[in-house]
C-alpha cells in the first residue's frame, strides 16, 4: 500500500491541472465529478494506508528536488501514524466538503475554477503532512497559503474580499519568515531538514540547549501565522469572506491545524525545550480565552465560528505546550468534524436565506431547515463539551493534561470552555429558535441533498468520533493515544515533561461539564425565555461589550502602528532620501566632474612642447610606480 502513497497527492494535483487548464470547456457536472473523484480516490488510498499502519515510519523517495553544495532536498514522503491520521482527515473531510460544494457553488460562474483551487489546496495540504522534511512541509505550508489567498478572494470583484485575501497572505508570510529561518537553523545545526535524521540527531542536545529553543520558537512563529494565534490571528476572521465551504475546509478543518501538526511533528524538539513549551502553552491559552471573549458578542454567524476556531486552536496549542501531543491531535480530529459541520450548516443557513449572515435577522429556522438544525445542534453539543459527543473527550483530555502542568492553566481553560458553550448556544438559539426576524420576502428553505448528506455524515462523526479516545478513567482504551504512541513516545518520555501532579480526572470532568451546563442554561434563559436579541448596529453598548464587539480594536491598532507608518516611510524614502539625497549626490558628482573638465580644458593649449612635457612626466611616474 505504501508504495502507491504518492498517488494521494497526485490525484488532486491532476484534478487541479485538468480543471484549471480546461476550465470552461468542461461542464459543471463533469468538473464536480473530477474534483470530488480526485478526493475520493485519495481517501481510499489513505484509508488503506491507515489500516495497514503498524507504527513504523516509512519513507518513500519520489524524486530529487534541490541540491546545492551541502544542501539537498528531495520530494519524499513520510508515512507514520501521525501523518496517516492527518491524511484521513484531509481527504475524508475534504471529500465531504467537495461534495457539499457541488450544491453550494452550483450557480457560480467560476464553478470550475473553484474546484480547481480546492483540488490544488488539498494537494498542498497533503504535501504539508506527507513531506518527509521541513522544507517539504514548507512547500505545503506556503502552498496552502496561496490557495487560501485565492479562495478568500474568490469573488474578486469585491474589494473587501480582496483585502481580506491579501491580509491573510501577508500575515501568514510574517509567520513564514520565522518558519524559514527556523528551518535554516535546523539545516545549520543538523546538516539536513529530513525529520528522521533531525530527530535522530537530537540525542546530543539536552533541555538547556539554546539552539533547540531558538529553532522551536522560530518554527512556532510560523505556527502563529498559519494557525491564527496571538498576535497573528486577525486574518482568520476576515478570511470568512471566502465561500463558506472554503471556510469549513481551509479555515477550520485542515489548513489552520497545520501549526498543530508542525509542533506535534517536531515534538521531540519541543519536548527538549521547556521554554518553547511554555511559550506554546501560554500563547495557546491566552488566544483561546481572548478569541472566546470576542465570539461572545459577534453577530455574523461566520465570524462567531471563526473566533471559535481561533479559540479552539488555542486549546490545541495548550495541549501541545503541556506535552499532551496525542490529545491535541485527537482534538484536531474531532474539531475537524464538528467545526466543518458547523460551517457547512451555517453555509446551508446562508444558502437558505439567500446570503444573509447576520444572526439578528435569523430565528425560527428549526422548522424550515430541519436537517440543518439537527446537525448544527449535534455539532454545538460536541464543541460545547457535552458528553458523550466527540468534543467532550478531546477537550477533556487537554484540560486534564493542563491541570497536571498547572491548575491555573486548567482554570483559564475551563472559563474558556464555559464561554464556548455560551456563545455556541447563543448562536443556536438565535438562529434556529424563536421567530424569524429577517426579511419576510425571503422564504427559508432546506438545502438540497448534495449538501445535507455531507452534513449528516459529519454529524454522525461529531457524535461518535470521540469514542476512539475514551480515557482510561472512564473505562476506555484510548485507542488514538495508543495508535499515536510510536510517534510521541520519544517526546513524551523527555524528563522535562515528566512531573506535575496526577490529575483527579473524574472530578475535573464533572466540574467542567457542570459549568458548561450552567452556561447553556444561561444562554437558554437569555435568548429563549427572555427572547433577547443583540442590539442593532449603532446602538451604544456598555464599554466592555463595545470593546469586545470591536475585537479589542486590534485591527485598528495594527493599522496605526504598522500599515500606515510603512506607507509613510515608503513615501519619505522615495521623495526625500532617494531624490533629494542619494540621487542629488550622484548629480553633484557629475556636475563636479564637468567643472573639473572645464578647468582641465584650459590645459589643452595646443602647445606641443607642453604635451611632450606632460607625456614624459607621465612615463616617469608609471616607471616609478612599477618599480615600487
Amino acid at each position: 500500500m505504501t508504495q502507491i502513497a504518492y498517488l494521494i497527492p497526485l490525484f488532486p494535483l491532476v484534478g487541479f491541472l485538468i480543471l484549471g487548464l480546461l476550465n470552461k470547456r468542461l461542464s459543471k457536472s463533469v468538473a464536480g465529478i473530477i474534483g470530488c473523484g480526485a478526493l475520493l480516490a485519495s481517501f481510499c488510498i489513505a484509508l488503506g494506508i491507515f489500516m495497514n499502519m503498524n507504527g513504523q515510519p516509512v519513507e518513500i523517495m519520489v524524486a530529487p528536488w534541490i541540491s546545492a553544495g551541502s544542501f539537498s532536498a528531495n520530494f519524499a514522503f513520510l508515512l507514520d501514524p501521525l501523518s496517516s491520521i492527518f491524511l484521513l482527515i484531509i481527504t475524508g473531510v475534504g471529500f465531504l466538503i467537495h461534495v457539499y460544494s457541488v450544491g453550494y457553488m452550483h450557480d457560480d460562474e467560476n464553478h470550475n475554477i473553484y474546484f480547481s483551487y480546492l483540488n490544488l489546496f488539498v494537494f498542498f495540504m497533503l504535501m504539508l503532512v506527507m513531506g518527509s522534511s521541513y522544507i517539504l512541509m514548507f512547500v505545503g505550508w506556503e502552498g496552502v497559503g496561496l490557495c487560501s489567498y485565492l479562495l478568500i478572494g474568490f469573488w474578486f470583484k469585491n474589494k473587501a474580499y480582496n483585502d481580506a485575501a491579501k491580509k491573510a497572505f501577508i500575515m501568514n508570510r510574517i509567520g513564514d519568515l520565522g518558519f524559514l529561518i527556523g528551518m535554516i537553523l535546523i539545516f545549520k545545526t543538523f546538516g539536513t531538514t529530513d525529520y528522521l535524521k533531525v530527530f535522530a540527531g537530537v540525542n546530543g542536545f539536552d533541555s538547556t540547549s539554546g539552539v533547540l529553543t531558538a529553532i522551536t520558537l522560530l518554527l512556532f512563529v510560523g505556527a502563529m501565522g498559519k494557525s491564527a494565534q496571538i498576535p497573528l490571528y486577525t486574518w482568520l476572521p476576515d478570511a470568512m469572506a471566502g465561500p463558506t465551504p472554503v471556510s469549513a475546509l481551509i479555515h477550520a478543518a485542515t489548513m489552520v491545524t497545520a501549526g498543530i501538526y508542525m509542533v506535534a511533528r517536531s515534538g521531540v524538539l519541543y519536548a527538549l525545550s521547556p521554554v518553547s513549551m511554555t511559550v506554546v502553552a501560554i500563547t495557546g491559552l491566552i488566544t483561546a480565552l481572548f478569541a472566546a471573549t470576542i465570539a461572545l458578542t459577534q453577530n455574523d454567524i461566520k465570524k462567531v465560528l471563526a473566533y471559535s476556531t481561533v479559540s479552539q486552536l488555542g486549546y490545541m496549542f495548550l495541549g501541545l505546550g503541556v506535552g499532551a501531543f496525542s490529545a491535541s491531535v485527537f482534538h484536531v480530529m474531532t474539531h475537524a468534524f464538528f467545526k466543518a459541520l458547523l460551517f457547512l450548516a451555517a453555509g446551508s443557513v446562508i444558502h437558505g436565506l439567500s446570503g444573509e449572515q447576520d444572526i439578528r435577522k435569523m430565528g425560527g429556522l428549526k422548522k424550515s431547515m430541519p436537517v440543518t438544525y439537527m446537525t448544527f445542534l449535534l455539532a454545538t453539543l460536541a464543541i460545547a463539551g457535552v458528553p458523550p459527543f466527540s468534543g467532550f473527550f478531546s477537550k477533556d483530555e487537554i484540560l486534564g493534561a493542563a491541570y497536571s502542568a498547572s491548575p491555573v492553566y486548567w482554570v483559564i481553560g475551563v472559563v474558556t470552555a464555559m464561554m464556548t458553550a455560551f456563545y455556541m448556544f447563543r448562536l443556536l438559539f438565535l438562529v434556529f429558535f424563536g421567530e424569524f426576524r429577517g426579511d419576510h420576502s425571503i422564504h427559508a428553505h432546506e438545502s438540497p441533498k448534495v449538501m445535507t448528506i455531507p452534513l449528516m455524515i459529519l454529524a454522525v462523526l461529531s457524535t461518535i468520533g470521540g469514542f476512539i479516545g475514551i480515557p482510561k478513567s472512564l473505562g476506555g482504551g484510548n485507542a488514538i493515544e495508543k495508535f499515536l504512541e510510536p510517534v510521541f513516545k520519544n517526546a513524551e518520555s523527555q524528563p522535562s515533561l515528566a512531573g506535575g501532579s496526577e490529575a483527579p480526572e473524574i472530578v475535573l470532568m464533572v466540574i467542567t461539564v457542570a459549568l458548561a451546563a450552567v452556561s447553556i442554561w444561561y444562554a437558554y434563559k437569555k435568548y429563549i425565555q427572555n427572547k433577547e436579541v443583540p442590539a442593532a448596529e449603532g446602538t451604544k453598548l456598555p464599554a466592555l461589550q463595545n470593546t469586545l464587539y470591536h475585537k479589542y480594536y486590534v485591527d485598528e491598532i495594527y493599522s496605526a502602528i504598522i500599515t500606515k507608518p510603512l506607507d509613510k516611510i515608503s513615501g519619505f524614502l522615495e521623495s526625500i532620501v532617494e531624490s533629494k539625497f542619494i540621487d542629488n549626490i550622484v548629480n553633484k558628482i557629475g556636475a563636479l566632474v564637468e567643472w573639473i573638465g572645464g578647468w582641465l580644458r584650459q590645459l589643452q593649449t595646443g602647445n606641443v612642447d607642453f604635451y611632450l612635457f606632460a607625456m614624459v612626466v607621465g612615463i616617469v611616474l608609471m616607471l616609478f610606480f612599477k618599480m615600487m
Binding site: P64, W65, I66, S67, A68, G69, S70, F71, I135, F138, V139, E142, G143, L146, Y149, G153, F156, K157, N158, K159, N162, D163, A165, K166, F169, I170, R173, I174, D176, L177, L180, I181, I184, L185, F187, K188, L566, D567, I569, S570, G571, L573, E574, V577, E578, I582, D583, V586, G590, K626
Partner: protein, 487 residues
Amino acid sequence: MQTAVILLIPFISALAALFIPRKHGKKFAVATSLLALVAAVITFINFPVNNGDYQYVINEPWIQSLGINFHIGIDGISMLMVLLTTFLTPLIILSVVVSETRTPVFYALILFMEAALIGVFVSLDGFLFYIFWELALIPIYFICLLWGGEHRAKVTLKFFIYTLAGSLFMLVALVILYLHTPGSHTFDIQALYQAGRMLDPRLQGFLFLFFFLAFGIKMPVFPLHTWQPDTYTEAPTQGTMLLAGIMLKMGIYGVIRWMLPAVPQGIQQYGDLVLWLSIIGVVYASIIAITRSDIKRLIAYSSIAHVGLIAAGIFAYRSGSMNSQGIQGAIIQMLSHGVNVVGLFFVVDIIQRRTNTRKIGSLGGLRLKAPFFATAFLILTLGAVALPLTDGFVGEFLLINGIYIYKPALAVLGGLTIILGAVYMLRMYQRVALGETSRETENFLDLTPNEKAVLIPLLIMVILIGVCPNIFLKVSEPAVAKLLSGF
C-alpha cells in the same frame, strides 16, 4: 567551437539584419535568435556536469605585444548565463507587436546586444571581457535613446555616463592586475587571478572597491542604483527587458567571475560593507516599491530588492566556510529573476498598450476581461514572491541560507523581502487584476497569439526552475566549487 558558434550567430545576424527588408525584420531576428538558442541548448544538453573546467575553449593570439588573446570558453556558470541570454532574446524580440513598426536597425541592435552579452559571459581574457562589457552598452544606449519615453534623452545620458564611469574603474583595476602579471604581462584570466592574489591586502582592497563600482552600478546595488528606476521606466519595453533580464546579470557575473577570485583579500576588508549595502538595498527598495503608483517603476524597485539579495548572497561568502549555497543560489536566482522580470515587464507593456496608462489607480478588473492574461500575471507574481515550486523560491532559499551561515541577523533582515515582496506584489496584482473594471480597462482584450508565444515559455520556466532546479544547479555546481577552491 561551440562557444564561437553561439557567439557568432547573433553577431553575424546583427550585421545581416541591417540588410533585411523592413517587413521581414522581426521574422529574421526571431529566427536567428532561435538559432542561437538551439545552439545553446545543444551545448547545454551535452555539457559535462562533473567538470568545473572551461569547455570548448578557443585561445588565439590577438594583440600579442600586449599579451591580449581572443580567449573564450564556457564553464557551468557561463553556460547558464549563455542559456539565459539566448532564451530571453527571442522572447524579447517576439514581444514587439506588429503595430509598433520597428526598423531593422532596432532588431540589429538587439542581436548585437545579445552577441556582446554572450561575449561578456564567455570571455577568459580581461581585455576581451572589458571590450564586450563596453560593447554591450552601445546598443542598449541607442535602443533607449531612439525608442524610449518622453524624458529619454536626459535619463539615457545619465545611465550611459554613470555606467561608463563605473566601467572605467574596472578598466583601471584590470590594468593594475595586468601590470602585476609576471614576464611580459598578459590579460589571461588565470594570470590575473594569480597576480591579484599576490598583491598586498591593501591594494587588493582598493581593487575590490574599483571592481565593485563597475559591477555595483550595473546591478545596481544600493546606493549606486538611482539611474535604474528612471532608465527602466523610460526605456522601451524591449530595452527594459534587456536591461533587467540580462544586462544586470553582467554585474553579478562579473563579481563571481572576476572580482571574488582575483582579489580574495578584498572581501575580507570590504565584504561586510558591501554586504550591508546589499541588504539595506533589499529593504529600502522593497519599502519604496510598496507605494509606487506606476507599475513599471514598482517592478523596477522590486528588481533592486531582488538583486540586492543576490549580491548579499555572494558577499556573504567567506573563504574556508566551503558553503557554495549562497553562490549557487545567486546563479539560480539570476535565471529566475531574468524570467520573472522579463515576464512582468511584458505584462506592463500589454497593459500600457491596451489602456494607455500604467497608473495603478486607473486599472482594475483585468481578470474579468482577460482571464488568461490575469493567470499569467498571477503566476509571474508568485514567482516574484518566491512561492515554493516556483522559480523564485529555490534561489531565495539558498541565498538566505547562505547569508544566515555568515551572519544570521542579516539573513533575517534580508528575509524581510518575503514579507515586503508579498506586500507590494499582491497590492499591485490586486489593484490591476482584481476588483471592478475601470474606464480604462473595460474594453481590455485577452492575450493575442503573439503575446501568448512570449508568455507561455516564461511561465513554463517559472515552474520548471521551481520544480526541477537541479537541471541547472548541477551544471554550475562543479564550476562554483572550483572557483571557490581557488580562494
